[in-house]
Symmetry: C2
Subunit: 353 residues, 2 copies
């Protein structure tokens, strides 16, 4: 019975090549203190033995793992995969790895995930509403480079990459109002989610700025899934006075709303206009194409990775917390404006503080 073949170590290579482990190590770290000849010899032996250095041992003695821990609240849909893609691209370029973990819906799970990653990663990219600074993990994070994505209670303590939710939401509303809409519904996201809160705040702010009263029945709750958008659409259609426009806090929900309206034979945008947020790929392909706020989601990931690696490289634990606000722009399509053929794009002011 063949048993686990012991992995070949640096000692084995050194022995076979007739040198010390230090020299082998030097060769594999491209040190220039090794004779060309010795180097060749060692490389050839290593190749013959299929030697590949052990990363755990390396991490341990170097106190660097060259790995970034990435914690996401979920993994469904394009939004998250784009974030991962963006981060992976940068990580790859900078010779870092990505340790990904999703599916931690609650605080305890998040903390377990962070604990399990401790010592396995050099820093974190963290996207989660649940993040309390006074838990063990919260305190732990203070001593580890961390970049927060979008928003969270913990913003302010760490670097962060965010979207100007309020500004962009106001822009959507301004667009709808400019089309003559006054009875505008919003499908908001789960309470506790700051992106959701901020988009709702933008909704309120723009209505107020235009002296339009807020009507409670026009505010319905979703949870960022297509299904919840569909349900929200149902609720809105059942109202005595239907809205003439719906602003869904993300595209998935907007697509749910559209599906509901299509099932019920409601014409979009003639009877009710619909707008979303995120501009995921599908949004430009569906019929009617969806007006949305375009955010380059993969940038969210790549900027986070870039910033994190920057902090990691610069060992001097600087205390300056940097918050990068992602550019976004309103993309007007057929779900709000039937006449436009080519997509109209309205840029939105962007900034980096």
């Amino acid at each position: 019975m063949p048993r686990q073949k012991a992995r070949v170590t640096i000692h084995e290579v050194a022995r076979r090549a007739g040198v010390s482990v230090a020299t082998v190590s030097r060769v594999f770290n491209n040190s220039d203190l090794v004779t060309k000849q010795t180097g060749e010899k060692i490389r050839s032996v290593a190749r013959r033995l299929n030697y590949i250095p052990n990363a755990s041992a390396r991490s341990l003695s170097m106190k660097r793992t060259e790995t970034i821990g990435m914690l996401l609240p979920d993994m469904h849909g394009e939004f998250f995969s784009e974030i991962i893609r963006g981060a992976d691209a940068i990580a790859h370029k900078e010779q870092y790895h990505l340790l990904v973990s999703a599916s931690h819906s609650n605080k305890e799970e998040l903390e377990t995930a962070i604990k399990m990653m401790s010592g396995r990663v050099d820093g974190f990219i963290l996207m989660s509403p649940h993040l309390d600074s006074e838990t063990l993990v919260g305190r732990y994070l203070k001593s580890v480079p961390t970049v927060i994505l979008t928003s969270s209670e913990a913003r302010g303590m760490h670097d962060s990459i965010r979207i100007d939710n309020v500004g962009a939401a106001r822009q959507v509303m301004r667009h709808l109002i400019s089309l003559g809409h006054r009875r505008i519904a919003i499908v908001k996201g789960d309470p506790g989610n700051e992106d959701a809160e901020e988009r709702l705040a933008g909704y309120h702010a723009e209505l107020r700025a235009n002296s339009i009263d807020v009507t409670d029945e026009l505010i319905v709750c979703g949870d960022f899934t297509e299904r919840s958008g569909h349900a929200a659409g149902r609720i809105l259609l059942d109202l005595k006075y239907r809205p003439t426009a719906v602003f869904a806090s993300n595209d998935e929900m907007a697509i749910g709303v559209l599906r509901c309206f299509r099932e019920e034979g409601i014409k979009v945008p003639q009877e009710i206009a619909v707008a979303g947020f995120d501009d995921i790929q599908i949004s430009s392909l569906i019929h009617p194409s969806l007006t949305s706020v375009h955010v380059d989601i993969s940038d969210l990931g790549s900027l986070a990775a870039e910033r994190l690696i920057e902090v990691l490289a610069d060992g001097t634990k600087r205390k300056t917390v940097k918050s990068i606000v992602l550019p976004s722009r309103l993309v007007v399509r057929n779900s709000t404006l039937t006449t436009t053929h080519a997509d109209a794009v309205i840029s939105h002011a962007t900034s980096v503080q």
Copy 2:
């Protein structure tokens, strides 16, 4: 200037608690050889110091990383995120981590990625057409538990999770032929990609079975992106004798074809029917909804993770290579059949060998 706070180690905890490191280690590994009282004491000290065990050290001495390496050819689109989601769910459940790496388009990059993960993971989930068994990495992989996704030259040497591409493609073709189509085009994927090859083989086989001649001009090449599908659509429309149906080897390309046809005012399915493969989420939402082969993509990831963890748990290096074939089913929608209102589903035989 505050310098890097040295992470607190097991020795520190032991010292402060007045015990040896062995005892502390035992507490954190839930050994039952420690007095309840001592255990309490140690836990309290550890909590006070924010002690979290170092995973690299742990991996090194235990020779287990509790991490799965996942190598994907790309990261664009829903397909890959679903795979990751499926794998993450299982990994999480079984207390494993997921080290993800994409963006290795060529063989060299793939090898670098694998090398970099060596010692960092207990096993691999690998999806890549480029995989030669005679390179250093190829030989290396033989000694590390590995599960291959979908297909690859290396299939046969390792466990694998695959889709019955040939069977499912034949089913699509059978469906189109049963609708009376005889002039059926295929948009195939890149040569070298086995999924692409197999779907093409299914196309050929079913035509042959129905005594329909193969026409070269009806076979156009794409690369699994929406853009390439659009281009393929263009080419097909420019033919002197247009096809009456198009089978795109994946949904992204099918969506590209649809977009092209819409731009050109071609009615689908009246003038040309279109079918895809994968049944990604968008496919049921677009207009017209897309006939496709439904595969539960996240299962691809979760089955791979399950199988890998199973192999890892069972140390006895068994030589039985297991190949799991994923169930799939044809979902008929409006892009081929205008009359169906409710989705028709035709199940496809499934098997596990």
